[in-house]
């Protein structure tokens, strides 16, 4: 009992000191976030919550700017030596949080680690860590196992952030308590389930943030995050709902910044399962769904409808001509041609958290052509398990192309080899598409690659493999005093650019 009491007091003290900290504004930025990280190690997890935090503490060789252009970060420049070798020239003035000097050794060490991490196999698996060579302290040759067009894009992903060998080895199992990167922020304390406190790094090579302390508060309810901004409880809220984004727009004390992200949502099928193996059925469904209306409703008019299975800012994106746009009459005749004049009964599997409303509207629309849909709104775990194992009839899914390149989006989602477990949850198989995708992956000429991906997208659209729904969006809300805030398509925020006015 005594110990429990003691513990209670410690927590109280922490909590109180924290609230005092929060009161001493000016040099503290408080951000409400929707997701918690799983790890403080950039290779320790691949989820958005982790990426958001590691982006503040670590840096990669290259990174994306807010228009998804690749820009140098720890590397000053790079050159393609041959199909499988890229030479990076590194900054010589970079120090880790623990004072260690950043050199090519850290780069090699990092990719040795990522080659063993289950979280980076799909993004960084093409790197041959053994063959990667340190030329000198500030020059490194990264060697690929096979020619890979979008390799540099992959290096811009947050899981490719550079870590320090000494810190990793000293940290061991407790690395998360004391993570070390080269970025502008240092972890002070991770109050699991509640908040993460960071301070600015004294060793940061770039321009230091305009404030000393950064607090990320984990607030799971979107509405609560919005209210917190409105009431001044936090400075910035990430991922507020579209509805709140509109309504907060009317508030003179709050700025709302929206950005499209690298994610799109779509309705798709198990294309290997009747009746969805019949292209006419898929085309009929495409025609029966007024996707614009769905998107308008679920995004409150803020969102754009996707014109491809990829988001526009991704390399290789080509808006499709929409051969099977909304047309109920055509839908009915297509369905009749397919032999289902009276429609049929089927199910639609959705992730209850984010797609229930879309599903309900689609259910109503499909009822018009006689397709009776039962919605199965599952939790994430169940939903994923269902579509990975092909138990779905129809499903609403989404794909986030973290690398900003079409290869990651299309090859994973539509190549025959990736059926089910690999990422092809539509169970789609088309040798023509497979060939195009394989060719594009190893092609080094980006112009040719773009052509190939255009063709893939055209085939997919013609075959009505999916019905495009909305392009993902992120809405940030910030108090009027917050300046320099930019919404980033990869859903991270470069908080070091923020200042107060």
């Amino acid at each position: 009992m005594k110990r429990k009491l003691g513990l209670l007091f410690v927590v109280l003290a922490v909590v109180l000191s924290f609230s005092v900290l929060a009161l001493a504004k000016q040099d503290t930025l408080i951000v409400a976030v929707d997701r918690e990280p799983s790890s403080m190690n950039p290779h320790g997890s691949n989820d958005a919550g982790t990426s958001f935090v590691t982006n503040l503490m670590y840096e990669g060789l290259v990174t994306f700017d807010s228009d998804m252009n690749l820009v140098p970060e720890l590397a000053t420049r790079w050159e393609q030596i041959d199909d499988t070798t890229i030479r990076f020239y590194l900054r010589d003035n970079v120090y880790f949080h623990n004072g260690e000097h950043f050199t090519a050794k850290d780069v090699k060490y990092t990719f040795e680690l990522t080659s063993k991490s289950p979280f980076t196999a799909s993004t960084l698996g093409m790197i041959d860590a053994e063959a990667t060579t340190i030329i000198d302290d500030y020059t490194v040759d990264i060697v690929l196992k096979y020619p890979f067009g979008p390799a540099i894009n992959h290096l811009g992903h947050s899981t490719a952030a550079i870590v320090n060998q000494k810190a990793m080895e000293e940290g061991g199992e407790n690395y998360d308590d004391n993570p070390v990167g080269t970025g502008p922020f240092v972890l002070k304390k991770w109050n699991s389930g509640d908040s993460i406190e960071l301070t600015t790094s004294d060793n940061y090579w770039g321009e230091k943030p305009a404030y000393k302390t950064l607090v990320l508060r984990y607030i799971p309810e979107a509405t609560t995050r919005a209210i917190e901004v409105e009431t001044g409880g936090v400075d910035i809220a990430r991922a507020i709902s579209a509805n709140d984004a509109i309504n907060l727009g009317d508030n003179p004390n709050v700025n709302v910044i929206s950005s499209n992200i690298l994610n799109t949502s779509y309705l798709s099928y198990n294309c290997s399962k009747p009746p969805f193996d019949n292209v006419k059925v898929r085309q009929a469904i495409s025609s029966a769904i007024n996707a614009d209306a769905v998107v308008r409703n679920v995004t409150f008019g803020l969102g754009e409808r996707a014109n491809s299975v990829m988001a526009p800012s991704i390399f290789g994106y080509v808006p499709s001509e929409e051969p099977y746009g909304y047309n109920v009459e055509r839908a009915k005749s297509l369905l009749a041609e397919a032999g289902y004049a009276d429609g049929f009964k089927t199910t639609l599997v959705v992730n209850a958290v984010n797609a229930s409303t879309s599903a309900e509207i689609i259910q109503n629309m499909l009822a018009q052509i006689g397709i009776e849909v039962e919605i199965l709104a599952y939790d994430f775990n169940n939903w994923l398990d269902t579509i990975v194992n092909g138990r779905q009839d129809m499903y609403i899914g989404g794909w986030t192309t973290v690398t900003g390149d079409a290869d990651y989006a299309l090859r994973n989602s539509f190549h025959t080899n990736n059926k089910g477990t690999g990422g092809n949850r539509s169970y789609y198989s088309n040798p023509e598409v497979d060939a195009l995708l394989e060719q594009a992956a190893v092609e080094m000429n980006q112009g040719i690659r773009a052509e190939l991906y255009k063709k893939v997208q055209e085939v997919l659209a013609e075959e009505a493999v999916y019905v495009n729904l909305q392009i993902g969006q992120v809405h940030l809300a910030a108090g009027k005093h917050v300046k320099g805030l930019v919404a980033h398509p990869n859903q991270n925020i470069d908080l070091w650019t923020v200042y107060f006015e």
């Binding site: 509405t223 509805n243 309504n247 229930s356 409303t357 039962e374 709104a377």
Partner: protein
Amino acid sequence: MQSKQTDRSRKNYSLWLSAWKRLKKSRMAMFGLALFAIICLGAIFADVIAPYPYDFQNLDETFQFPNANHWFGTDSVGRDIFSRILYGGRVSLQIGLVSVLISVTLGGSLGAIAGFYGGKTDNLIMRTLDILLAIPAILLAITIVTALGPGMFNLMLAIGVSSVPSFARIVRASILSVKEQEFVEAARLSGCNDAHIIFSHLVPNIMAPIIVQITLSMALAILSASSLSFIGLGIQPPIPEWGAMLSAGRAYIRNYSHIVLFPGLAIMATILSLNLLGDGLRDALDPRLKN
């Protein structure tokens, strides 16, 4: 024996009659009964009363505040909230009833067996139930729903199972208190088998506490169901369960709080009516406890 039994059934009959008379006297209980009846009628005749089908969407009339066409306003896809609440009553009442029936049947039989046989059987059953009791009910329910997958029946099963232990305890205690009475001994001497004794002699005599518990548990079950729906487990859209309506509406509370106001009030009214009724029944069936 025969006459004794009819005697008792007459006694039982008059017991119920006088309980009903006492119940009628309690204004609170009658209010609860009336409210509950209204909710039930609304649910049963939802087809007739509701101005719109529960899944009728009008994407041009979303987020309407209460008005003449939509008494409770409309939701994010333009469905009439009043109609959905009426239909939602069906779902909630069904969940309440079925899940309580599950726990009564399971918990009741286990409790009856444990109480009647005592000894090792009792120990085995009650210790097993202790395990279920030790797991927080809502976590147990969530775990079961997660394991079974969502859906109305799974939800009812989860809620039902998680309140099995409490029913078992009540029935066991009641059985223990009546099983030593003379008529049980008489039945046993006249060669009745155990099942017969339990179901035709013991059970009728412990109906009073069970009925009260059923009423109160129904309220709890409806609340649990809405809690589970609130965290996204349970009822499949577009079925209008009140908790699911709350859950779906909570993204809009900042500006359109009517979307969550009415389902919340509906839950409250139902639970209130059941609690009032349960209290009234307890007083009526067990006059000793009447204040």
